[in-house]
């Protein structure tokens, strides 16, 4: 088995490294990614982003408007999800919060269609199938709302 262990090891290393380079590094050369610029968050919104990460909001909410739904996507009114998201809008984000499942509406542009009061009510009371987050402190709640309002 000695020879096939060596061959298998080399094959796996080559396949994994090639796969990573092609799917996660080469896209850095794409013009849409290379020239990316995104507006920085305020200090309060940046703190709110970590509340978003800590509470796992990304489990139920995406932050990506796909090209195929940009025109007709519906949260409350047709098309209110906004324009399609582009790679550049995520520049510098760590971690990126694209999300993989929508049990709640997409939040890529939630700040453009929702008021501060609506967001506070949704977070404290829980609406439309969302659990309440009453246990957040006032400061954490304010930070989280500031972050969501910055998503435009």
């Amino acid at each position: 088995m000695r020879d096939s262990v060596g061959a298998t090891g080399r094959l796996v290393v080559a396949a994994v490294v090639c796969g990573f380079v092609v799917t996660a590094l080469l896209p850095a050369l794409d013009p849409a990614v290379r020239t990316a610029r995104a507006a920085p968050l305020s200090a309060q919104a940046a703190r709110g982003r970590w509340v978003y990460v800590r509470e796992g909001c990304v489990v139920c909410h995406t932050q990506q408007v796909r090209g195929v739904e940009a025109r007709f996507g519906v949260v409350r009114a047709q098309g209110d999800v906004g324009e399609a998201s582009t790679a550049g809008q995520y520049a510098g984000q760590d971690p990126v919060l694209l999300g993989r499942l929508r049990l709640g509406p997409d939040l890529a542009r939630v700040g453009a269609r929702t008021s501060e009061q609506e967001l506070r009510t949704a977070l404290v009371s829980g609406t439309g199938g969302m659990p309440s987050y009453r246990y957040l402190s006032d400061a954490e709640l304010a930070d989280l709302v500031a972050y969501l309002l910055a998503l435009r």
Binding site: G19, A24, C57, V68
Partner: protein, 464 residues
């Protein structure tokens, strides 16, 4: 104490990995059931921060992949690797050290993610100390497996698959999580999203699936005395699995904000993954030719076959969903959860089946209760029959509602609540089944009938 922890007793690490997998499985599936309940009834335990929905899902996923599946499959894999030259593992103490490192990592991970210390990267939430413990354990296990296999005189594609998985895991952790720079995330922006996708695809296609495939091919051929795949076909399946698996990550982003050519690469690789998975299923079935009538004696064999069927269905549905047309409808919907139930649930069934089949060869005792094992199987089959269609249907209905452009988002989600309640019932059944499995293992080690030493060997197929 140290002598007990790092004992060189033959198969001690295998036994401990199997027990640990069974126990982590109870916890992982409890989190899965709680998450399913919270999807159907969002206010369940919403006021308790450490079991709020976002944290439950993150903790549960970590427990599933690193606690339940990894421990159970590594236990089974070490057993088949150690059988190659009938001398056991190259170093039991090192394999035991790997087990303890992973156990500490899993406890810390469970605690920290529940209390909100997370890197916020789905399936890569664990903070850096956990990563380093896991990576060290993975490298130790790779070293043990490598040194054990080079002593074996036989070339066996099943063992090569196992070795591929042990080689793949450290690479996936180092590259996908950026562990070459462990204290911070080296990726930013859309490259972070792509490295996250690489990590998730890698954990499934470069770690869990090759491990499950290698173990099940070896165990079935050893039991029946018939090798299911020729050497060429076996190595071709291995090549397909690692090559396409390493490229499949971006299939998550079809229609999304990543360059179009990357989406295409991911979608094509995802589609091609059907080939190696179906090849391994065919190999498992060929091993059983002439032995189908004796399936009733081995619930473990039925577990393994059911698991590979579920996995093959899952990867086929996943390939379908990454095509441009269907992905317009089902992408980002509950369809993905239905596929996850089939893929990861299928791997879990293979792992559990191998554990049932290996009890005489690991514990030195016959399985305490075949009746309990059959009940476990039926619980799992009923759970799959409920949850996979419910989640796939919920995904289709959500996607169709979004595509109309007239149904408000909240209404589409509300309409899927009854199906989510069905998925919760299924998750609860799977949890009960896991408890039955752990109880049966305990009964076996406590009061199972001893097996003669000669029958404890898991003999490789002659001439292979």
């Amino acid at each position: 104490m140290l002598a007990w922890m790092f004992t060189d007793e033959r198969w001690s690490s295998v036994r401990r990995f199997l027990y640990a997998g069974a126990l982590w499985g109870i916890l992982a599936l409890a989190y899965e059931a709680l998450a399913a309940a919270q999807r159907a009834w969002p206010q369940v335990l919403a006021d308790v921060p450490w079991v709020s929905h976002g944290r439950v899902v993150a903790t549960g996923q970590d427990l599933w992949v690193f606690g339940f599946l990894s421990h159970l499959l590594v236990g089974a894999a070490l057993r088949v690797v150690g059988q190659g030259d009938r001398e056991g593992l190259w170093s039991e103490p090192l394999a035991n050290l790997g087990l303890w490192l992973w156990t500490v990592a899993q406890v810390l991970s469970w605690w920290w993610i529940s209390t909100g210390w997370t890197r916020g990267r789905p399936l890569g939430e664990a903070p850096w100390p956990v990563d380093l413990l896991r990576l060290t354990g993975a490298l130790l296990l790779l070293w043990v497996v490598r040194n054990t296999l080079v002593r074996s005189p036989r070339r066996d594609p099943a063992l090569a698959l196992v070795f591929a998985a042990f080689t793949g895991l450290p690479l996936v952790l180092v590259l996908g999580k950026g562990l070459f720079w462990p204290f911070d995330n080296p990726y930013h922006g859309i490259l972070d999203a792509l490295s996250q996708a690489f990590l998730r695809a890698g954990l499934v296609w470069l770690w869990v699936v090759p491990l499950a495939g290698g173990v099940c091919l070896y165990v079935l051929s050893a039991l029946t005395g018939r090798r299911g795949l020729s050497e060429g076909l076996g190595f071709a399946a291995l090549f397909g699995l690692v090559s396409f698996g390493a490229l499949a990550g971006p299939a998550e982003f079809v229609w999304g904000p990543v360059p179009f050519w990357v989406q295409t690469v991911g979608a094509v690789a995802q589609g091609l993954l059907v080939l190696p998975v179906a090849t391994l299923l065919a190999g498992a079935a060929r091993s059983l030719e002439g032995h189908w009538q004796s399936l009733g004696d081995h619930p473990g064999v039925v577990f393994v076959l059911a698991g590979w069927l579920a996995l093959t269905s899952g990867v086929s549905l996943s390939a379908l969903a990454s095509l441009v047309g269907p992905s317009r409808v089902v992408h980002l919907s509950l369809w993905g959860e239905g596929v996850r139930v089939l893929v990861l649930g299928g791997c879990a069934a293979v792992a559990v089946g191998c554990a049932y089949l290996m009890t005489p060869h690991v514990l030195g005792r016959s399985l305490a209760s075949r009746a309990l094992a059959w009940r476990h199987l039926w619980l799992l089959v009923v759970a799959w029959a409920l949850s996979a269609p419910a989640l796939l249907l919920a995904g289709l209905s959500q996607g169709a509602a979004w595509a109309t452009g007239t149904v408000p988002f909240a209404h589409a989600v509300q309409a899927s609540r009854p199906l989510l309640a069905v998925a919760w019932a299924a998750a609860f059944l799977v949890w009960v089944g896991q408890a039955v499995f752990a109880w049966n293992l305990f009964l076996t080690s406590d009061s199972g009938e001893p097996v003669p030493a000669a029958e404890q060997e898991l003999l490789p197929v002659a001439g292979s």
